[in-house]
Amino acid sequence: MNKKRVLAVLAMVGCLAVTSLAGCGKKAEDSDKAVKEDQTTITLGVFETDNITSEIWGGMIDSFEKEHPEIKVEKVLASGDDRTAFWRTMLNSGEFPDIVVEASNLASMDVFAEVPGDVQELFNPDLLIEYGGKVTTIPASVQYKGQCYYNKAIFKELGLEEPKTWDEFQKVCQTIKDAGKVPLMCGGTGDTWATGAMFWVAEGDTQVQAAYPDFVQGLSEGKYKWNNDVTKKVMTEYQDMVKKGYYYEGALSLSYSQCSEAFLKGEAAMLIDGAWMNATLDSSGNEDFGVFAVPTMDGSKIAIGNTSSWGVYKDSKNQDAAWAFLKYIYGENTQPYSDWLACDGLFSTTKEPVTYEMGPVTTDFLENFDGYEVKCEINQTAGDYIVPSGMQSFMDKSHQNTFNGADVSKELDSWDTEYQRLMDAQ
């Protein structure tokens, strides 16, 4: 019994010692990066994905600190999949970072400081957005969405070519299905957006904006409704494709990671996705996949490209240091900016375009959009007419209902009801 007690005490002491040593180690590590007396510390609010890793942010920060030793940058990492909610919580708790790299959804709420003229000058003026007459965010990058990645081996085996029209696209799907293979992959569980958001971007967003160029403004003024002929046609076709068995049977039981992995393993022939897939394929040197612009039902040629925004917190006490950081990244040394763009298949927004060595998939992706009119996604529209927060999440779930056979017209009616409810409540 005594022996056991002694062992227990020793084990506890051991644990405490290890913890203490770990603490020492941490302290030592911290002391290397300790804030010097004349140093200003700024916080950079970021998020990470499979592509945008901690190394990318680390490289950006290290590069800046080397050139500007008087400023120390601390990374604040957003957790969870609802990052807007995370930044909101930080804002409400008084811990909002000095710079946030996802400013679009918060910009209309008067959170960010007006961008100084010398910072604005670094960017393509067409991409600068005003909120209440002031430019409060910088356009950091453009991300395209909604092209179709395909398995070259399956296409070759079945003698298929990249479709140029909606009918050809349907024929490709039917041929693949007739051959006993799965034409299209998508995801769903845990990642509701992975079910229908990319199809909506490729078909719905494009055709709605082709038919009603002022859709977002008209929607807010009651001139248009979500439940219109275009959306009804798009969502009916979407449901028909599911009913015809064009989609992977258990798609809604897969997360986005699982569905993209299954697609890369050849479990389905095609995946409609965003440009981040370019980076995944090109960075691994994977040449088994090609990409084509999804042909629209009405033949419209609109490319959906969203501008991501960065903002400096209006109540930040270190605004000068924050602007210095942005000037460095977007003007003085654009290598870290280039690395960031390359890692996620993004494109530059600066007056002097910043490029990177593009792989074959990224090159094809850009060529596919040649001659297309670039427009922002309806739900990501920035400026004075914005779709209320929560609408995208609602539509993602509605796409799942449609996928599972819900009445399309009733679903679209629910979009209008929810839109009005969110507008009234926010």
């Binding site: 909101r88 569980t189 079910t195 258990g250 809604l252 699982q258 779930k397």
Partner: protein, 288 residues
């Protein structure tokens, strides 16, 4: 007087933590529930409008229905099965110690971690369907998390698996308080296993049962983490629960006043149910 000061000193940290993290947020939620507020701009007083809107919200109605289905099923199963398992492992032995540990392990694991594990087991190309395919039962392969009925059943199974060991332990603790003499007396009176359970075990474990039932009610009515990770409330709104709805309305849709109203009603409902259960089971308690 000095003793009182010492007692107060010991209670102070807990008092500060509970007040700061529990009491004040509850009061604030109650206050905010009377306002139209998106979390950023000025708050606008709207009286009981948020509460009136609760009754017209079909999405909330669906969340309440899902929560009740999950809660009732899990509460019944974990309490019945928990008591059964506790009786099986009640006698001290190495084998029973082993099984006690095995049953209790899921409860000490992180809910987030086990949700990810179960998600990989139940996904269409996951372990379960792989096993079914391997043993030639292709017809049983299912889209478990992708359809309404099965997704809800999956959530219920994971929740039972996660909490069963905890309730078994609560019943085990209660069973250990039952004096052996009472069982001997029952045997002398000619009572069999059922009589012992019905007339000795059950009346004497009522206090433990109260705690177990109460804890299961509270836990299941505020279920969130497993849902968030395994299905994100989907497909559609098919597995959305009340707390998921509160978080979604408050943080995704920026309707903080309304989500606070839902939270206040849930708080009152859990409080009322708890009082009812404690009172009802309290009447069944016997004194030794």
């Amino acid at each position: 007087m000095k003793k009182n000061k010492v007692s107060f000193g010991f209670a102070l940290p807990a008092f500060i933590i509970y007040t700061g993290l529990l009491v004040i947020p509850i009061i604030m939620a109650f206050y905010i529930s009377f306002f139209k507020w998106n979390g950023f701009t000025d708050m606008k007083f709207i009286g009981i409008e948020n509460y009136a809107n609760l009754f017209q919200d079909t999405r909330l109605g669906n969340s309440v229905q899902n929560t009740l289905i999950i809660a009732v099923t899990v509460i019944v199963v974990v309490n019945v099965l928990g008591l059964f398992l506790a009786m099986l492992v009640n006698k001290a032995s190495k084998a029973n110690n082993f099984f006690r540990t095995i049953f209790f392990i899921p409860f000490v694991l992180s809910a987030v971690a086990i949700s990810f594990v179960w998600k990989s087991i139940l996904s269409y190309n996951g372990v379960l369907n792989g096993l079914l395919e391997a043993i030639g039962q292709d017809s049983m392969i299912g889209n478990w998390l992708g359809q309404k009925g099965t997704a809800l059943v999956c959530i219920i199974i994971v929740e039972i698996w996660k909490t069963l060991g905890y309730h078994m332990m609560l019943y085990l603790a209660a069973l250990q308080t039952v004096p052996a003499e009472l069982y001997e007396a029952c045997t002398v009176d000619g009572g069999g296993h059922w009589n012992k359970f019905r007339n000795v075990t059950l009346p004497l474990i009522v206090p433990g049962m109260s705690v177990s039932v109460l804890m299961s009610i509270i836990n299941e009515l505020r279920i969130y983490d497993v849902i968030k990770i395994m299905t994100d409330g989907g497909p559609g709104y098919d597995t959305e629960t009340i707390v998921y709805n509160i978080v979604s309305q408050g943080f995704t849709s920026n309707i903080v006043g309304y989500s606070s109203a839902i939270a206040v009603v849930l708080f009152i409902a859990i409080g009322a149910i708890s009082v009812f259960v404690v009172t009802a089971l309290g009447k069944k308690e016997v004194e030794m």
